[in-house]
Symmetry: C2
Subunit: 199 residues, 2 copies
């Protein structure tokens, strides 16, 4: 913990392992859209369906947070191997919409206020439920209610789970390293005196 | 959102994409150790170094949460391709230590109270900072302070970031599907008028 600051930042950032990667789409009241990459989106509950996002204090992604608080709407969009470099580039500080800046087409679905990424295989429409600020360092947690889900047909399995490998969804580590996933197996529900099966 | 309940559970659970996977090691005041898999460990800050964990309400992992609150100590341990099935099996309801039940050797390092997984390539010693309960559905967030880190030498890059692929760290989706990562690239810091480089 006495390491030099960049070394420490990179180590602590990659410590938990692989992270999910989503582009969050928002629009402000003036109609300007915004797109930014987030690796801290997680599962809060399935019934009601809720998602959580952590926003670091004082980071470049504050436009996204401001738009969510101002309008109450945002979208989550999976990032795939075919456009992860454009997704990375949306983190640059543009004075106009990142959709236009990096060349990702925006899409509006069913009159939902916030924009989706047209080529993304998983698109989720969310409305703001609550925000809370952590005392320890000012990190903001946003909880969203999942209102609509669009999934590319080849990515949706019969039981409802997603085939991330088939869709080419990427995962990331730290601040800048991208990976695809290679499936090992799906395992049966674990019980004390039962041998696990690949299902 | 009107889908049948198992379908909905699996869909919502895999919606954000790939997740990190860590085994959390704890020990209660009677000296009984516990080990359980968690896919919701995330980055809160690097300075001071903080980690967050989400605990679902009423799930099998409550022993872990009880031990953390009772003693103030826990460990994070990466899961690799060589023992992910044992890691999955630790989620079964055992009346004694999961280390013994699934055959993962426990290790104690530098007199830290909680046990580590001996064969894990990344071991992190944490102390409890705060817990908070989300009003919306009773999800509990634990914030821990990172006290010590052990990383297998081949996994630590010169700049401090971790080479997850070299260590064989696995990632998961939903409740039961495991993947290894295959590196695409590491990208330079994004700036508006600059072409991204692979670094």
């Amino acid at each position: 913990m006495e390491a030099e600051s960049f070394f420490r930042r990179d180590l602590i950032n990659s410590l938990a392992g692989y992270k999910s990667l989503n582009l969050i789409g928002t629009k402000n009241q003036k109609g300007i859209t915004n797109l930014s990459p987030f690796s801290q989106v997680f599962h809060i509950g399935a019934s009601p369906p809720l998602v959580g996002i952590l926003f670091r204090p004082h980071t470049v992604e504050r436009h996204t947070l401001e738009n969510i608080i101002e309008t109450g709407f945002f979208t989550l969009n999976h990032v795939t191997e075919s456009f992860y470099k454009k997704a990375h580039q949306t983190a640059a500080r543009y004075p106009f919409s990142e959709f236009e800046a990096v060349g990702l087409e925006e899409e509006f679905l069913e009159d939902f206020f916030a924009p989706f990424v047209k080529i993304s295989p998983v698109k989720v429409a969310c409305t703001l439920v609550e925000t809370s600020t952590m005392k320890v360092n000012g990190t903001v947690m946003v909880v969203g209610s999942i209102e609509h889900i669009w999934v590319e047909e080849k990515g949706l399995l019969a039981d409802g789970s997603l085939d991330l490998e088939a869709m080419g969804t990427v995962t990331c580590s730290g601040l800048d390293t991208y990976y695809t996933g290679k499936k090992l197996s799906r395992l049966s529900y674990p019980k004390p005196d039962q041998v696990l099966k690949e299902i």
